[in-house]
Symmetry: C2
Subunit: 273 residues, 2 copies
C-alpha cells in the first residue's frame, strides 16, 4: 500500500510536517510518499500545488493526504478544489480559539518561525557560537556563563545534544569529556567543582558506544567492547557517587535527550519556538 | 491580558509546542505564559499536570489553553477533567484519517520523534560531524561527498545554516567563506570549480552584517559599514555572474533559509522527521 502525503504551508512547512509526521507514524503498514510544498503564497503557487496533488491522486488511485497550515483564504480555496483530502491544522483550531479568547486572530501569513525580533535571532546564534566554542573541554574559561555543562565519555552524544539545545532552545550548553584519567580517579575533575549545579551526565549502552566508535576508528582499542564497558561503568559510578543527574541516551532521540535535560535541571529555555 | 497555555505530550512535546506556537502567534495582543509538560505517560503524571493546569486557571481567572498530542486514552481522560480547554491535535485528525485509510491507527505512544532505526540516528550524527569538519573552508578534502556547499562572507550565517540542515534533514552541508582575495578577483575560487552544481550563496544586508560583526569585534575595520557594504556588493556580483543561486538572509529565520535551499537546489533530504 502506498499513498501520497503533502505538507502545505505559506512558510517553511515545518509545522505542517511535524504534525503530519506525528499522524502518519500511527499508520505503519502504509508507505507514504511525502512531499513538502513550502512557501505557497500566491494563486500561481497554489495552482502548481494542485497539479502535483492531482498527479499523485492519479498515480496511486487514491486521495492524497494534505496536511496544511495555510492561512490565506484564497490559497486555501484553490487547494480545497484539488483531489486531495485536507487536514487543516491551523483553521480547525483557530475558530474555537477565537471564541475562547473573545478576539479575532490576525489571520496573518508568516508569523510562525519568522525571524521575530533581532534579539531572538541573536540569542540563538549566541548560543550556537557558545556551544561551538565550548565543545569537548577545549577551554573552561566560559563555564561560568554556561546554562548547563554536559559530561560523558567520548562519543556519548555530548556535541549533538549541545548544538540541539542551542538551536532549539537558545540554551548556553558546554560539554566536558571524561577521559581515562578522570575515570580512574573515580572523582569529579577538580576543574568542574565550582559548576556542580550545572552538571548533567550522559551515559550509553556499551554495545551502542562500541558500534559508534567502530565506525569512526574501526581497529582501535578505543572501540573495543571491554574498553567501552569499562568507561561506561566508571562514568556511571562517578555520576552516582557525585549525585549528578544522568541519562542513558542509547534508545532516545536528541529531541528526547534535550527535553529530558531541560525538565530534570529545571532550566528555563531562552527561546520559545 | 495574560493567559496560561500548556503543551501536553507523552513524549518531548515538540509537536504540541510547534503547533501551539503557530496558533498562539495569531493572537498578538495576548501574553501567554507557556509551559511544556512532556513525558506525561502515567496516571500520576497526568494528575500532576491537572494540578498545574488548575492552579494556572485560578491564577489568571481564565481557562488555560491545552495543546495536546497525548495518545493514551486514560491519560487524556484525566486531563479533560481539568479546568483547561483542550485542543487535541492528534485525536482530532486521527479518526478522519482512519476512515480515509480504511485501517485503525496504532494509537501507540512514543512513535513520534523516536530514535527510529539506528540508521536514522546515524545519518543525523554523520551529517552533523560532516558539517563540523567542513566548516569555514578549513579543508576541501570532503567536498566531493557534500550534498551542498554554502558560500558567503564572514558572519553571513553559513555555520548555523549548515548545522540546521544536518540536524533537521541529515544533509551533508559544507561551507566556504569568500574572503577579500576571492572578492577582489570577482571570480569563483578555482578550488570550487569542480563543485559548481553544489554551490548556494548566502547574502545579507550590509546594515545587518555590520550589526552582527560589531557585536563580535566592536572596533575592527571588519565591522565598518563601508567594509560590509563592499563585501556584500562583491559577493552578490560573483553569485550573479557565476549564476549561483543565492538568498538574502537578513529577514528570514534559519528554518526558512534551510527550507529555501532545499527547494531551490532540489536536494533530497536524508531524514524525514
Amino acid at each position: 500500500m502506498k499513498r501520497a502525503a503533502f505538507f502545505l504551508s505559506d512558510r517553511t512547512g515545518i509545522t505542517a510536517e511535524t504534525m503530519g509526521h506525528s499522524l502518519l507514524t500511527q499508520f505503519e503498514s502504509i508507505e507514504f510518499e511525502q512531499t513538502n510544498l513550502p512557501f505557497i503564497d500566491s494563486v500561481e503557487k497554489a495552482e502548481e500545488a494542485v497539479e502535483k496533488i492531482n498527479a499523485a491522486a492519479e498515480r496511486y488511485g487514491s486521495k492524497p493526504l494534505l496536511f496544511s497550515t495555510l492561512i490565506d483564504k484564497e490559497v486555501r480555496k484553490i487547494i480545497e478544489q484539488s483531489a486531495g483530502m485536507m487536514f487543516d491544522m491551523l483553521n480547525t483550531f483557530i475558530h474555537p480559539l477565537e471564541d475562547e479568547l473573545g478576539i479575532k486572530s490576525a489571520h496573518a501569513v508568516g508569523r510562525t518561525h519568522g525571524m521575530g525580533v533581532y534579539s531572538t535571532y541573536k540569542s540563538r546564534i549566541d548560543a550556537l557560537n557558545f556551544s561551538l566554542a565550548n565543545d569537548d573541554g577545549n577551554t573552561l574559561r566560559h563555564f561560568p556563563e554556561a546554562d548547563i555543562i554536559l559530561l560523558g565519555v567520548s562519543r556519548s552524544g555530548k556535541t549533538p545534544t549541545c548544538l540541539f539545545l542551542a538551536l532549539q532552545y537558545g540554551i548556553l550548553a558546554a560539554n566536558y569529556p571524561l577521559i581515562d584519567d578522570d575515570l580512574e580517579s573515580s572523582r569529579l575533575p577538580k576543574a568542574l567543582e565550582p559548576y556542580r549545579n550545572k552538571l548533567f551526565g550522559l551515559s550509553i549502552a556499551p554495545e551502542r558506544l562500541q558500534q559508534i566508535r567502530k565506525e569512526r576508528r574501526p581497529d582501535s582499542s578505543y572501540a573495543e567492547y571491554q574498553q567501552c564497558q569499562y568507561e561506561v561503568n566508571a562514568v556511571e559510578k562517578i555520576y552516582r557517587s557525585q549525585q549528578i543527574p544522568f541519562l542513558d541516551t542509547s534508545a532516545v532521540s536528541i529531541e528526547e535527550i534535550a527535553t529530558t535535560i531541560l525538565q530534570t535541571s529545571g532550566l528555563e529555555r531562552r527561546l520559545h519556538g
